[in-house]
């Protein structure tokens, strides 16, 4: 609705109506959920009532609300709430740390492939096809089999595998963008290829990969948690939500809250990221 006015009075916007605000409620809920998880994880050292690895042997598998343990304790007597908060730091590191690298690399790969085209493009895209030929988790597991389990190797495995969707996405956008007039103008001015790619094309193709990165972050947290669950990701005594679920599996018949608490935490983060990603994607479609 602002497009019409944009050319004439760039700094005056039409007042936003209630309908516009209402349409954005899911987006704000999403941002709120992510913010809540980020704040809780950042403040973990301040608000966690216990040391997340401290064992209270006399007080194992305590129910929520008993004594000083708000969410109870696990089989080693470790405070579940404290572990949940500290685990959030690891899972957020996966959500943002793994995704930032794959977003950057995949975008640059797609940019170069689409811009140069021809034989370079053909070779680069066969490479992308090849990574796509494997289920993500299988390739991640194969890399972990080579490198060994652990947090660092989990990051390496995700980096190696999950950049490919960005490359395919960005390449498609670049193929369209490079025929636009502003690129021809930049060429006519005799700008170098790197300058045209990064300075002119990149800002015009970056939105779809940014939106996709939200959903990718959900899937990276899922992979990280799945590896923790299989015992191939984060190792003891560090807390990670997927690992907390796996550790509690044998006790879940009697202590159902043990797997439930970290599961709800993953769901909150995942829901927040999905809501933001989905609504940004909808707004893009409406514009396009």
């Amino acid at each position: 609705m602002t497009e019409i006015a944009a050319g004439v009075t760039p700094h005056r916007r039409a007042p936003r109506s209630w309908a516009v605000w209402r349409g954005r409620i899911p987006l704000y809920i999403g941002i709120g959920l992510i913010a809540a998880v980020v704040v809780a994880a950042l403040l973990a050292p301040v608000i966690a009532p216990f040391d997340p690895t401290a064992q209270d042997i006399l007080n194992t598998l305590a129910s929520p609300g008993t004594g000083k343990h708000l969410l109870g304790t696990d089989q080693f007597g470790r405070d579940v709430l404290s572990r949940l908060l500290y685990a959030g730091r690891i899972d957020l590191l996966i959500a943002f740390g793994a995704t930032a690298v794959t977003l950057t690399f995949g975008t640059l790969f797609g940019l170069v492939s689409g811009y140069y085209g021809g034989r370079i493009d053909a070779v680069m895209m066969r490479f992308v096809d090849l990574v796509f030929a494997f289920p993500f988790i299988v390739l991640v597991l194969a890399i972990i089999a080579i490198l060994g389990p652990g947090l660092r190797n989990m990051f390496i495995a995700i980096w190696i595998v999950s950049w490919v969707p960005y490359a395919r996405l960005v390449r498609g956008e670049v193929l369209v963008a490079k025929r636009q007039e502003y690129v021809m103008a930049a060429r006519a001015l005799d700008y170098g290829s790197p300058r045209i790619m990064v300075g002119h094309i990149l800002p015009n193709v970056i939105t779809p990969p940014l939106v996709y990165s939200m959903l990718d972050a959900v899937s990276n947290v899922g992979i990280g948690a799945a590896l923790g669950f299989l015992g191939l990701g984060v190792q003891d005594p560090t807390a990670e939500w997927g690992k907390m679920i796996a550790d509690s599996q044998s006790f879940m018949a009697t202590n159902w809250w043990l797997p439930t608490a970290p599961g709800v935490a993953i769901a909150i983060l995942g829901l927040g990221l999905s809501l933001v990603g989905d609504n940004l994607a909808d707004r893009l479609r409406a514009k396009g």
Binding site: P135, V138, A145, G242, W256
Partner: protein
């Protein structure tokens, strides 16, 4: 005639990817830091077994000769031997494959049974309560990790209500259908989240098409329009979505088999990483890769058979 051209072209296109899959699998054993034979044998190390393994892999030869040897063995159906189980990897894979195939097929069927009616309902009642509820529930299903959904289903249906088994595969078809219901439902919920979203959009697109105005103008009944005109066209995109996300589906089976202790390929893969049985990891990676390439090929061919407008480019 043109149809055969499309299928032929698509087959040709798959050849470099298939070769690439074999190269990636080949390098799994060669990229191990240190001496691969020492790492692979681990506590099973004896000088004879080491020498035998070294000869089998051709580790004293040039890399391209090793790859040639690997391919020659592969063509003969020889995937090497498992260090841990002491039997050929091919046998292990062959034993475990049916479980994974059952799980993948069963969960696809459940996902379709869930998605088609819900996506239709969602599209016809766009932005009303039924639509909002469906979308919210499946957004949650997408945000929750499948292994956790699996545990919650076990908690409710097996431990609380004692309706369904916690684990196991069974020995005949009714047993499979009964035992694999919970794990398949788990995978199907995540898969349906993706399917419903796409199907809903494509039904909405079809609802706007001119030929529906024609159908309505002819006075066809609402049900007939829905079945013959809307769904038939919208489901075409469904075939593609299933194909594109097959690798997600297969990925889910890997984790879910471990939740429900099912003796499939995914469980073998995870346990082989723990036992450092890397020739098994190599074999399973290869089988999964070839499986995805084959199913993608099948999807494209099915799509071409359903839609006469498709041509190869």
């Amino acid at each position: 005639m043109e149809r055969f051209g499309f299928i032929g072209g698509r087959l040709l296109q798959a050849i470099p990817v298939v070769l690439g899959v074999t190269i990636v699998s080949f390098f799994i054993l060669r990229l191990i830091p240190g001496d691969p034979v020492l790492v692979m044998l681990g506590t099973h190390y004896t000088p004879q077994r080491a020498a035998q393994l070294r000869a089998n892999l051709g580790l004293d030869k040039a890399v391209w000769e090793q790859y040639y040897l690997f391919m020659r063995h592969l063509v003969q159906g020889n995937l090497g031997d498992s260090v841990y189980y002491r039997i050929p990897v091919g046998h292990l894979v062959w034993q475990r494959l049916p479980v994974t195939l059952w799980l993948a097929a069963y969960s696809t069927v459940i996902a379709i049974v869930i998605s088609v009616p819900l996506a239709t309902l969602s599209a016809l009642r766009r932005n009303r309560v039924a639509d909002q509820a469906t979308r919210t529930i499946f957004l949650l299903a997408f945000a929750m990790p499948p292994f956790w959904i699996g545990l919650v289903l076990i908690l409710v249906f097996s431990l609380h209500w004692h309706l369904l088994p916690i684990s196991g595969y069974g020995s005949n078809v009714p047993d499979h259908l009964y035992n694999l219901f919970l794990p398949s439902l788990t995978i199907a919920l995540g898969f349906a989240a993706i399917l419903i979203r796409t199907l809903r959009n494509s039904i909405l697109n079809v609802l706007d098409a001119d030929y529906l105005d024609t159908a309505r103008a002819k006075g066809l009944s609402q049900f007939r329009i829905l079945r013959r005109h809307v769904l038939r066209n919208a489901l075409l995109s469904g075939v593609t979505v299933i194909g594109v996300n097959l690798s997600y589906l297969i990925g889910s089976t890997v984790v879910i088999e471990n939740v429900f202790a099912l003796p499939g390929l995914g469980q073998l893969l995870a346990s082989s990483i723990f036992t450092r049985d890397l020739s098994v990891v190599q074999g399973i990676t290869l089988v999964f890769g070839l499986g995805v390439v084959a199913t993608n090929l099948l999807t494209d061919v099915t799509y071409a058979a359903l839609d006469p407008r498709v041509s190869y480019d």
